[in-house]
């Protein structure tokens, strides 16, 4: 029989050694816990503090920088800002939208399928907790070199996990990103976004109020999975690949998902919300019950008491500390008035969801937890949830940055003849980053719920939220770590600008920003400098574009040994469509339309896809940030789409005009005859420069587009006319779409397996003998 470490026992054994280092706490943090409690913590208390004070939960290294987002001017559209589970934005007609992106990087490396699946599950519960019905997901994925053996282990599992969970929940996947770089070899990035919709009056907040109100735990039973996930996995650097992925030692720290239970949880919650049966609600994610109880109590006005032995278990041998730390998925915690408990439990029964009253809100200011009648936790909840350590980590500009910036891509050999230009064009478009993503996106349901208006490969995902008024939302999720490596301040702004532009080309009005900041170890001053610069850049960029940051997520310790990933701020922008029927696709549908380039093209190749694909080069300066030009372009696009003047619009980003023209042509199989000589001084710059604030549009009324653009101060360059089955660019060999499509679509299947099947063959044993 294990002795339970009670509060009483802790008082009596002040000098008992405690494994705080193994739980991820530093010496001074342990001392502070002892100071707060006036005694040593019990084993259960130590478990709670260790997970809640982890980098993942406490944001202890990032907090001082993230405050800049809270200082942005308040936007009228912002209903709930940073600090809640997800920000909430007014999108008109009484509708509110909540959206957030979150990382599940470390678990996805250790166990790709479950890591990615539970990443989706976690962000969906965050959105649900706000009172919203989740309506769509997106995913931003980064892996090591596409041809590396370990990428073949990680990528298929991650994609199947994102799809397996989201498909089974009935949430359409409306877009995202897929990118490869050596720097992610030991640290793939799996960032998942969820968006939900509610009426203004349905908004819920996570707080425990009203003494006597019951604490109800509902959803899956608690098991031994994911114990210490936030502290052991997400807040530490793996010494080497073996420690992280190849040994099973950390696998129990990864949670195991059950999307079927989560689907039932969603429907039960929405029914509970509609019937007004809860006063507060919180999901159980990282740090599990420790997080949910301390956050609910901390945000409320009183205290809370929990009888931990009432928690339904999958494994009866779990210790109280393990129950408090378990990250078992598909669980929620609600605060329910005593008179409504029966109705609450009835809804849960109807959906086959297990629900148990485990405690109640109290008058005091303590969070207390009992285990079979013995007190094992007695703490001030704020000290666990909201008053964790805060660090001003040292920052230092990376020593190699000057050399990196001096290594200008201007010195790289360039293609000159038409044949060389075409060869480079094909190479960029068929590179793993540029290639067709169907191998991935085919594994995701984009149709479920019947409101998906645009999804990948269009620039933004567009979802209808009202079938009568046709109101809808647009979302884009973008990151470019090469730019951020060269200049994290500018890189964050360029990523913001790209997501903003992607929302704008669909015809939507950008409204709000979320972010997922993926960086190396905060204990390295060079990484901390990158982080500080990126946050400052993003905050300044949002201020200039007039957009609030509604929330986000920070993932640190993305490094293997001493080598950190490239700084990777992934930015999500939400926009609103007053009428989704006016959206424009990214591809060309009809022949005989005029192709126009909007915006200025300068010779900018630092961090470009061309330099990376053709020369394996990363150096120089990223493209200039031009936020006023981005604003002008977005306003122009909104106007053009609103007046029905353009038939397609496609943003220019990685791979420049070369990538955009190929994608626009391949979307519906419509070619074009083009002359790029007015774009820039030479065809190479025209094709491969990555200058921002640009888009390609098609129109049947170029005169009106020109007038509108002149008025908006956006340069218009006529490129040619759509039609035919090839891209015919003056002075370049004709590029048949069949050849382009073959190159573009072959890359991912060649790397990760052909999606075709042999028709008609029946493996033995699969034929029913009815």
């Amino acid at each position: 029989m294990i002795t339970v470490d009670t509060v009483e026992r802790a008082v009596g054994t002040p000098d008992e050694p405690q494994p705080y280092t193994e739980l991820g706490l530093k010496d001074d943090e342990y001392v502070r816990i002892r100071d707060i409690l006036g005694r040593r913590p019990t084993t259960a208390e130590l478990a709670m503090y260790s997970v809640m004070w982890s980098e993942h939960c406490s944001y202890k290294s990032s907090k001082v920088h993230l405050r800049q987002f809270g200082d942005l001017p308040r936007s009228e559209a912002l209903l709930v800002g940073i600090g809640e589970n997800a920000g909430v934005v007014d999108v008109g007609d009484g509708y509110a939208v909540t959206f957030k992106v979150e990382s599940h990087n470390h678990p996805s490396y250790v166990e790709p399928y479950q890591g990615a699946a539970t990443g989706v599950g976690g962000i969906v519960r965050d959105i649900l907790t706000m009172g919203a019905r989740p309506v769509a997901v997106m995913d931003s994925l980064r892996f090591g070199r596409a041809d590396a053996p370990d990428t073949a282990r990680v990528l298929p599992g991650v994609v199947a996990g994102v799809g397996g969970y989201g498909n089974c929940l009935g949430l359409p996947n409306i877009g995202g990103e897929l990118s490869f770089d050596e720097c992610y070899a030991g640290n793939p990035l799996v960032n998942a976004l969820c968006v939900g919709v509610m009426r203004h009056e349905d908004l819920r907040l996570a707080k425990a109020e009203g003494a006597g109100n019951r604490v109800v735990l509902f959803g899956a039973r608690t098991g031994g999975d994911g114990i210490g996930g936030v502290s052991v996995l997400a807040s530490e650097t793996f010494a080497d690949a073996a420690e992280a992925g190849l040994s099973p030692a950390k696998r129990p720290s990864v949670q195991v998902g059950d999307p079927f239970t989560e689907k039932l949880l969603i429907e039960a919650c929405l029914e509970i919300f509609a019937a007004g049966l809860v006063t507060g609600i919180q999901d159980l994610g990282g740090a599990g019950l420790s997080c949910a109880t301390s956050e609910l109590a901390s945000a409320g006005t009183g205290g809370m008491h929990v009888d931990l032995d009432r928690v339904p278990l999958r494994d009866s041998t779990l210790t109280p500390a393990e129950i408090l730390m378990s990250e078992s998925q598909e669980r929620m915690c609600a605060i329910v008035e005593p008179g409504k408990v029966d109705d609450f439990l009835a809804v849960c029964r109807r959906w086959d969801v297990q629900a148990t009253v485990i405690g109640e809100v109290t008058d005091g200011d303590r969070l207390t937890v009992d285990w079979h009648g013995e007190r094992i936790v007695d703490v001030p909840p704020r000290t666990v949830a909201h008053e964790g350590p805060v660090y001003e980590r040292p920052v230092q500009r990376p020593a190699d940055l000057d050399d990196l910036r001096a290594d200008d891509p201007a010195a790289l050999p360039r293609p000159t003849t038409g044949a060389e230009l075409t060869a480079h064009w094909l190479a960029v478009v068929s590179s793993p980053d540029g290639a067709d993503k169907t191998w991935v996106t085919e594994q995701y349901d984009r149709y479920v719920r019947g409101n998906t208006v645009l999804a990948q490969p269009d620039d933004a995902g567009v979802v209808r939220i009202d079938e009568d008024t046709h109101r809808g939302i647009a979302l884009a999720l973008d990151g470019n770590a090469r730019y951020a490596r060269l200049d994290p301040y500018a890189g964050a702004q360029l990523n913001l600008a790209e997501a903003y532009r992607n929302v704008a080309v669909s015809g939507a009005r950008p409204l709000a920003v979320t972010n997922c900041l993926n960086f190396g170890s905060p204990e390295e001053p060079a990484v901390m400098w990158q982080f500080a610069e990126a946050v400052r850049g993003l905050a300044d960029g949002c201020r200039e574009l007039g957009l609030p940051v509604t929330g986000g997520n920070v993932s640190l310790y993305n490094q293997t040994g001493d080598v950190a990933i490239n700084p990777t701020p992934v930015i999500g922008v939400l926009g609103v469509h007053d009428d989704v029927r006016r959206r424009v696709p990214s591809g060309w549908r009809a022949a005989g339309e005029t192709v126009l380039l909007l915006g200025e093209t300068r010779a900018e190749f630092g961090g470009s896809a061309w330099a990376s694909v053709m020369h394996g080069h990363l150096g120089g300066r990223p493209p200039a940030v031009a936020l006023p030009a981005e604003k002008a372009l977005a306003a122009l696009l909104a106007g053009l789409v609103g007046e029905g003047l353009v038939t397609s619009a496609h943003d220019l980003s990685d791979g420049g005009l070369a990538q955009a023209l190929a994608e626009s042509a391949l979307r519906y199989g419509t070619g074009a005859a083009l002359d790029l000589s007015a774009v820039a001084g030479d065809a190479f710059t025209a094709l491969f420069s990555e200058s921002g604030a640009r888009a390609v549009v098609t129109t049947t009324d170029p005169g009106s587009v020109r007038v509108t653009a002149d008025w908006a101060g956006v340069r218009v360059t006529e490129l040619g006319t759509t039609g035919g089955d090839a891209l015919r660019v003056a002075d370049l060999p004709e590029l048949p779409l069949a050849e382009l499509r073959a190159a573009w679509t072959a890359t991912l299947p060649a790397l990760f397996g052909s999606p075709e099947v042999t028709v008609g063959s029946v493996p033995a044993g699969t034929v029913p003998t009815s």
Partner: protein, 223 residues
């Protein structure tokens, strides 16, 4: 015309099926899996999704839901029933349609816009089409590979019970490119592709799927 749409735990495309019924001019009626008796409806749709998380076998647990007892009884006496994707799996598991749906040949979930040929335009659910018509509707499944014993397949072909067939590529390795089959009386139809996702230009690859839902309105009136 009242068309019931059953929600099982884990049904996902029930809202889509109800929308398709409405757009076709019918009145969708929500049905709950745990109810004992089928309400007064003129036809029933079993929607797509992952009922019971596909645990045991896709559709196996839902096929034994209380409401399915009356659906099976009434279907045997001519009530038109359409099973889409998971609904098709449920109908096979309930013994209303022959064959079984197994894991896709390539082992991946696959979602794509799929061309189909309508082989039978005289069932309760396909009367709005013409035989041989090519339609495009989304397909999305992980376990959509239609299999049956060779003799059963021959019999289905002879009796003309293949309703829709995959053309221009088979998305999952279904035997003889079979996408959907019907009962001997043509009242029960099951198919893996999702006609309810092709009912509006705004959200679907086409509006080709609407015909399934308009067909049944005519079939019920005629019956």
């Amino acid at each position: 015309m009242r068309i019931g749409v059953i929600t099982f735990p884990g049904s996902l495309d029930d809202v889509d099926a109800a929308r398709a019924v409405r757009l076709a001019g019918g009145e969708p009626v929500s049905l709950w899996h745990a109810d004992d008796h089928l309400e007064d409806v003129d036809a029933v749709v079993l929607p797509g999704g992952f009922s019971y998380g596909d645990y045991l076998r896709a559709g196996a647990i839902a096929a034994r839901a209380p409401l399915m007892h009356s659906v099976v009884a009434k279907a045997r006496s001519g009530l038109p029933v359409l099973g889409i994707c998971n609904g098709f799996q449920v109908l096979c598991e309930a013994g209303l349609l022959p064959g079984a749906l197994t894991r896709n040949g390539h082992l991946h979930f696959r979602n794509r816009d799929q061309a189909l040929r309508v082989e039978r335009a005289d069932t309760a659910w396909t009367g709005s089409y013409t035989a041989g018509q090519r339609i495009v509707v989304p397909v999305k499944n992980g376990e959509g590979r239609y299999v049956a014993a060779p003799a059963d397949l021959d019999r289905l072909e002879e009796e003309g019970r293949v309703v829709v067939r995959y053309v221009e590529g088979n998305p999952n390795g279904s035997l003889r490119d079979i996408a959907g089959v019907t009962s001997a009386d043509g009242r029960i139809v099951g198919l893996m592709p999702h006609p309810e996702h092709a009912v509006e230009d705004l959200t679907g690859p086409s509006t080709d799927g609407l015909g399934f839902f308009t067909s049944v309105l005519t079939a019920v009136v005629a019956a």
